[in-house]
Symmetry: C2
Subunit: 223 residues, 2 copies
């Protein structure tokens, strides 16, 4: 079955005069986005690549591709005002099995990608998760109470879906509780299936995360 | 009010022939345990120090203190077979306000320590927490569902308590759901109060955590 990956790198309204978004920063000598895309090419050199970016960053991306001689066939798609609309915009370029992945997760392993595609082929959807490894509490109106962490799953990407399922799900009207693709699909009443993520697959949002990512990338497994 | 900190560094049954526990490893040129203890001395040079270790590691600790000229007045206490018994063993050496802290959390900030002591002085207990910054799901019998992460708190130490409260709580029989001191106190029906932890205050359990801790410690805030 045809495989596609939608790399979600931000929506509309991101101004060029603010800091350059993390996904363009250099990580081990290469823009993070290229590291992220390379993970999927390593998994399947024939995967279809769709990259969602704020439209005003298209020229920067093209310049970087020239500079780093990163010449893969990549469909650029303009981001929407919410992540929901960004993914929805990308759906007209895909078919078969669709992975949706955060641009700022360059440390996803080939194994995690492979497991998610395999499970989604079988069940229709697959969400990579890792165990929660810290003590947790949950707030309620009167205070807070312990949360059994053995039942808590930390959600990652790529979340993989059969095209028909994702397309149908994204016909819904946007709701604020759609925090990822799983919640959009779940809202149609579908059961979500989980698979093993990899612990290194952090979402890079702070300068310290960048340093941690450099550390991980210095590990031979990521060479 | 007299302040004490119980540094919990492991229980009975830890063999010398296995790997040296993380708390003795060097972190920025000093055994981790000394980094951890130093945080509390920075907060209050007069704080009473109680260190719970597996009894067979007492000689190693003494050697390290000589080697690193770490000569503070520290009460050594032998660990029990569960963390619960380790803390309980330490309680005969404390009074006033008691902080209980994981030995493998050397990155706690002075501010987090200070806030926890202040709140506990006022309310009787205080538990440092940070927000959950990842998407979460919760498992139940039929599958799993999204968990509103805005309501989830990640629990850290030091957890601080008034002596009488902690002493009373530790008269209970051990239950497996006693995963930290807050759960022991809560089991008596007391409400738990939360305060701001610091995000760097990770629990060091893996070699990668060690590297991350080195990164954090290279930050001027930790000098």
């Amino acid at each position: 079955m045809q495989k596609s990956v939608v790399i979600v790198g931000g929506g509309a309204g991101k101004r060029m005069n603010s800091d350059i978004p993390k996904q363009f920063l250099l990580l081990k000598g290469k823009p993070m986005l290229m590291q992220t895309i390379s993970r999927f090419l390593l998994y399947d050199p024939d995967i279809r690549l769709i990259l969602v970016l704020p439209e005003n960053y298209f020229p920067l991306w093209q310049d970087l591709c020239d500079q780093y001689q990163f010449h893969h066939k990549i469909q650029l798609v303009a981001g929407g005002k919410e992540r929901f609309y960004s993914v929805k915009n990308a759906l007209e370029y895909v078919s078969g099995l669709i992975a949706v992945h955060d641009a700022v997760r360059p440390l996803v392993s080939e194994m995690a990608i492979g497991k998610a595609f395999s499970l989604a082929a079988e069940k229709g959807n697959a969400v990579p998760v890792i165990p929660a490894n810290e003590s947790l509490r949950i707030q309620h109106e009167e205070g807070n109470q312990p949360l059994d962490r053995s039942k808590v799953l930390v959600v990652q990407t790529p979340q993989v879906f059969r095209y028909e399922l994702l397309k149908e799900a994204y016909k819904q009207k946007f709701k604020p509780e759609f925090t990822d693709d799983a919640t959009v699909v779940e809202s149609l009443g579908h059961k979500i299936f989980t698979t093993d993520g990899n612990p290194e697959n952090i979402k890079i949002t702070t300068p310290m995360d960048m340093k941690l990512a450099e550390l991980y990338l210095s590990d031979p497994r990521f060479d």
